[in-house]
């Protein structure tokens, strides 16, 4: 049956077809009419009044009336609304911040791949992140894609299917340049106003850094400290690109922004960890390393889907009817005495 309420009202129990409750009025019929065969008897007035029979008769009528009521109730489709329950797990609130700039269309050797880019950094990162999301059962995920500007995809949620849909969508072609700072700000913004429970992680997946203004850097440092989030950076390194830990020969922020970004992240004042990945295997290892970290007790709310209760009504109605059936079979069909 179509489910059209989609959370517009807030009641514990509601009905899919409230009109069917009116059918419950029909319950007066079995109360008034017994449905037993009338047997002719010459002098009924002479029969002694049998209290037991009277009670049994009332009981049977009541049963039939109840069966009608329960059937009507069942047809009305009672269900418990979706409910939120508090749960305690071990896990984290993870904001995925995924680079979707055009350089992510290349593969790890730096070669540009055409239309069918199964091995592009984007596609590979998306695939491994989907697996990661699937394994982390208790975590909440949020998703930001970024290139020149941050793109809000999903807020912190437990809806795995949606997270998967968002991450998979990032497997396609990326466009634009890499601009990390606004993306970080957006990712951190997800944590604002959320209860501080479990650990908070920004998981940055990017193949390059970008120059950051000092002022922007200060704002982001403040944000990190305000929301108490730690940062993991999975750096998809082009083999020709610089290593994060090795200072370049001629330090120059526009030639090797990654190195400077790494240095800046170390000054954030929150837990920070960088993983370099320069081929699919090391990328997988980096994700596995992140996975081992950060399991703290996490309070979260889980949405229980709505529960249909009409089958209970039908079950009860059935038992009433069975009792009636038994008595019906005992009924005297004809008076031979």
């Amino acid at each position: 049956m179509p489910d059209d309420d989609r959370g517009r009202e807030r009641k514990a129990v509601s009905f899919s077809h409230p009109w069917a409750l009116l059918l419950g009025l029909l319950a007066v019929i079995p109360w008034l009419l017994s449905g037993q065969k009338k047997l002719g008897y010459s002098s009924i007035a002479r029969l002694p009044e049998d209290r037991l029979s009277v009670w049994i008769d009332r009981g049977l009528r009541l049963l039939a009336a109840m069966a009608v009521l329960l059937l009507a109730l069942g047809i009305a489709g009672p269900h418990l609304r979706e409910q939120w329950v508090e749960k305690l797990g071990t896990g984290a609130q993870i904001a995925l911040l995924v680079d979707h700039s055009s350089s992510m269309n290349e593969n790890f050797s730096g070669a540009y791949l055409g239309g069918k880019a199964n091995e592009s950094k984007s596609a590979l990162a998306a695939k491994l992140l989907v697996e990661f999301v699937d394994r982390r059962r208790d975590d909440l995920f949020a998703l930001v894609a970024f290139s020149a500007a941050p793109i809000y995809v999903l807020p912190l949620t437990q809806d795995r299917e949606a997270v998967r849909a968002g991450v998979q969508a990032l497997g396609g072609r990326g466009h634009g340049i890499t601009n990390i700072a606004p993306g970080l700000a957006m990712a951190l913004d997800y944590f604002k106003g959320q209860p501080l429970t479990g650990s908070r992680i920004v998981l940055l997946v990017s193949d390059g850094g970008a120059r950051m203004e000092e002022e922007t850097g200060d704002q982001i440092r403040q944000l990190f400290q305000d929301v108490q989030a730690s940062l993991y950076w999975i750096y998809l390194r082009n083999p020709k690109g610089g290593r994060l830990s090795v200072a370049p020969k001629n330090p120059n922020e526009s030639a090797t922004p990654e190195y400077f970004l790494h240095r800046y992240f170390q000054t954030l004042g929150v837990a920070y960890q960088a993983y370099e990945a320069d081929d699919p295997q090391t990328l997988q290892q980096a994700i596995a390393a992140v996975e081992k970290l950060e399991n703290r007790p996490l309070h979260y709310r889980e949405k229980l889907p709505r529960r249909d209760m009409s089958s209970y009504c039908y079950g009860l109605a059935l038992s009433c009817l069975l009792v009636l059936l038994v008595f019906q079979s005992l009924e005297v069909k004809a008076w031979n005495g």
Binding site: M1, P2, D3, D4, R6, G7, A20, L23, L26, I29, P30, L33, S34, G35, K37, K38, L39, G40, A64, A67, V68, L71, A72, G74, I75, G77, H100, S101, A145, A148, A149, P150, I151, Y152, V153, L154, P155, T157, D159, E161, A162, R164, A165, G166, Q168, A169, L170, G172, R173, G174, H175, G176, S310, S311, Y314, A317, L321, K333, A334, W335
Partner: protein
């Protein structure tokens, strides 16, 4: 039981001309992008459960997906949230080559299965203007769907907003002189130095004809829902249908039947 459901990739033009305000319906946003979002929300409400919607953005030459198609009833609140946050500032560049964007949207839809349709929302405002649309190298009609024309026929100025969305006046042709051909520069129309935008229906209809898509002009959210629910765009799916209500109704009927007074039994 078989039921008609829909599977759409909704791709929204987020270039700046979509900030132009030429919708005038009480209670609904005036800007094109806002009106598109309200209309898509209506579709989220009204399409039958079991339908799937994916969301994507268009600017420059490309379509970028935000979400793969998701079932709309189960994921309503998240789809709604993502939709709500679609913003012109997500653009990775400012140009608008609609034909290219449309073709890349069609490729994305084709990659997502035969029953995935494309709904492409745009005002048809090409920027920088191009004399001729590039030709479509796919097979027209292979991916079904509809181009949704957004905006009004009267040219209106395009608001110029800063990164905080504060209005900074309107785009003037002078601001864009490096990108515009001399013919588009002011002078032919005295006094109006604004760079104007209107719904370029002929361009969009041309693209629709070339790609085998339908064309719908966005005027009301309800109209969009009707256009999306066109019969030829539906997919037949087996949907679990619950018959228990019917059966219970029958049971109720028979139970009451047994209660009716019967003729006295014969001796």
């Amino acid at each position: 039981m078989k039921r008609s459901v829909y599977r759409y990739l909704l791709v929204v033009d987020i270039t700046q001309s979509m900030n132009a305000r030429d919708y005038h319906r009480t209670g609904l946003p005036a800007d094109r992008l806002g009106f598109v979002k309200v209309s898509i929300r209506q579709a989220l409400h009204d399409l039958p459960c079991g339908s799937e919607l994916g969301l994507g953005l268009f600017t420059t030459h490309h379509t970028q997906l935000l979400l793969e198609p998701l079932e709309i009833c189960q994921h309503f609140s998240l789809l709604d949230d993502t939709l709500e946050h679609i913003d012109w500032r997500m653009a990775w560049a400012a140009d608008s080559h609609i034909a290219h964007g449309l073709y890349s949207g069609l490729r994305e839809a084709a990659r997502r299965g035969k029953e995935t349709r494309l709904a492409f929302f745009s005002d048809g405002q090409q920027f920088p203007p191009e004399p001729e649309a590039p030709s479509f190298d796919g097979k027209p009609g292979e991916v079904g769907g509809v181009i949704v024309g957004v905006g009004g026929s009267q040219p209106v100025p395009i608001p110029r907003l800063d990164r905080e969305n504060r209005p900074q006046g309107f785009w003037e042709s002078v601001d864009l002189r490096d990108y515009l051909p001399a013919s588009a520069m002011p002078g032919q129309k005295e006094g109006s130095a604004y760079y104007l935008s209107h719904l370029d229906e002929s361009a969009l209809r041309g693209l629709a004809a070339g790609t085998g898509l339908g064309y719908h002009r966005l005027e009301t959210p309800e109209g969009l829902v009707r256009a999306l629910m066109a019969k030829d765009l539906a997919a037949e799916r087996m949907v679990a249908t619950d018959f228990s209500g019917m059966l219970a109704l029958l049971a109720l009927f028979f139970l009451l039947l047994t209660r009716l007074p019967r003729l006295p039994g014969r001796k």
